[in-house]
């Protein structure tokens, strides 16, 4: 049994400790916002927060998460109102949308650690997340917009 806390809720997981957190979250806990994209930490579609860090759940074994805090896209905010989520809507970032759970989880860490990023900072923080639809220009814009919201203490627009 592995004890993990996902989005504030405790779970007792009876599974192979080598099972990647991604499949625990999706197939056992049933939260499907976290996506499978490559399985080898290349694309970032599976990013969740583990104790606040943007880890790739596809290569993070269940055993690493014992007694740790996990936050998935479903738990980032109660009402889809984290500044990054609001900015993603404001700038109409997603196309197919598949990669954006991971993009948003990565952007949230970027903004926490650098509340006023420039384009180079954004590229440095977001180059781990692949988007095949090519929404990168809007991701940059939205992160600037989220930073502004954060500075103003909430939604700006």
């Amino acid at each position: 049994m592995t004890n993990i806390t996902v989005n504030g809720k405790q779970h007792q997981i009876d599974a192979d400790p080598n099972m990647p957190l991604l499949w625990v979250i999706r197939d056992i806990i049933g939260l499907t916002g976290t996506k499978y994209g490559c399985g080898v930490a290349q694309c970032g579609a599976c990013v969740v927060h583990l104790n606040g860090e943007a880890v790739r759940s596809c290569v993070t074994k269940l055993s690493r998460v014992q007694a740790q805090q996990v936050v998935t896209i479903e738990g980032l905010s109660a009402n889809n109102d984290h500044p990054v989520q609001l900015a993603w809507n404001e700038e109409q970032v997603p196309q197919c949308g598949y990669c954006h759970s991971g993009q948003i989880m990565s952007a949230a860490v970027l903004l926490r650690e650098n509340p006023n990023p420039n384009d180079a900072d954004i590229d440095a923080g977001m180059a781990g997340n692949i988007c095949r639809c090519g929404t990168y220009q809007r991701i940059r814009k939205a992160i600037h917009s989220a930073a502004e919201m954060q500075r103003k203490g909430g939604a700006s627009k």
């Binding site: 930490a41 880890v55 990565s106 860490v109 970027l110 650690e113 180059a127 781990g128």
Partner: protein, 217 residues
């Protein structure tokens, strides 16, 4: 590949043999770090601190071996000339361009440990693992990529460039877990050009014979 323990005991006996010969010298000039006598002469749990006896020929010869290891993909990839690590046997830029950061552990959503687990992830082209995966920090980049043997030897022993490592700490660095993981690189990756034992022997020989730098630029 041999286990670490085996390597250590081989290496230990070699060192003990070497230690018999020498006098401890405080080296100035080329060897720009001091060794404090009063420290316990131990590296790790069992290795006695080797005694330094200057021998420029043996030293340069040993360093040439050290150099082939440090500039192999397994070591050089995390000692890049820029702020982005390298990847693969061909030492290409890491595909997702993670940045070094101040502590060498990455930045923002791109911290090393976000992908690099405590142990290697199974499979080809998956992230190799180590509990302390990192690049040298921003204030001590310890670049291997593009360095000549002369430059690299000088740089390794320069406390301003090596993170203030003295003789003892340099010797100890051979037992660093991340250095060792070069010999456990994960599936499909080429090993450094010699065994860990041979590398460690060369490393200590180089240091304990005066840490001479090969001639050249």
């Amino acid at each position: 590949m041999k286990k670490q323990g085996t390597n250590k005991s081989n290496y230990g006996s070699t060192l003990r043999a070497m230690a018999v010969i020498g006098l401890l010298l405080t080296v100035i000039g080329i060897m720009a770090f001091g060794v404090n006598n009063s420290d316990t002469p131990k590296v790790g749990a069992e290795s006695p601190l080797p005694v330094v006896k200057k021998d420029s020929i043996a030293s340069v010869k040993a360093f040439k071996q050290v150099y082939t290891v440090l500039t192999s993909a397994r070591c050089m990839n995390c000692h890049p000339s820029g702020n982005i690590p390298l990847q693969g046997d061909d030492s290409h830029l890491h595909t997702m361009s993670p940045q070094r950061g101040i502590d060498g552990k990455g930045i923002y959503a791109m911290k090393c440990a976000n992908c690099h687990q405590a142990i290697n992830t199974p499979g080809l082209h998956t992230p190799p693992g180590n509990p302390n995966w990192h690049l040298p920090p921003a204030n001590m980049k310890m670049v291997f990529q593009g360095r000549t043997p002369h430059q690299l030897a000088k740089q390794l022993i320069d406390p301003k460039q090596n993170g203030n490592k003295d003789f003892k700490k340099l010797i100890a660095h051979a037992d660093d877990g991340l250095v060792l993981s070069g010999w456990n690189p994960g599936e499909g990756r080429t090993l450094p050009p010699m065994s860990y034992a041979a590398f460690k022997k060369a490393w200590i020989t180089w240091l304990s014979t005066g840490a001479y730098a090969p001639k050249g630029k």
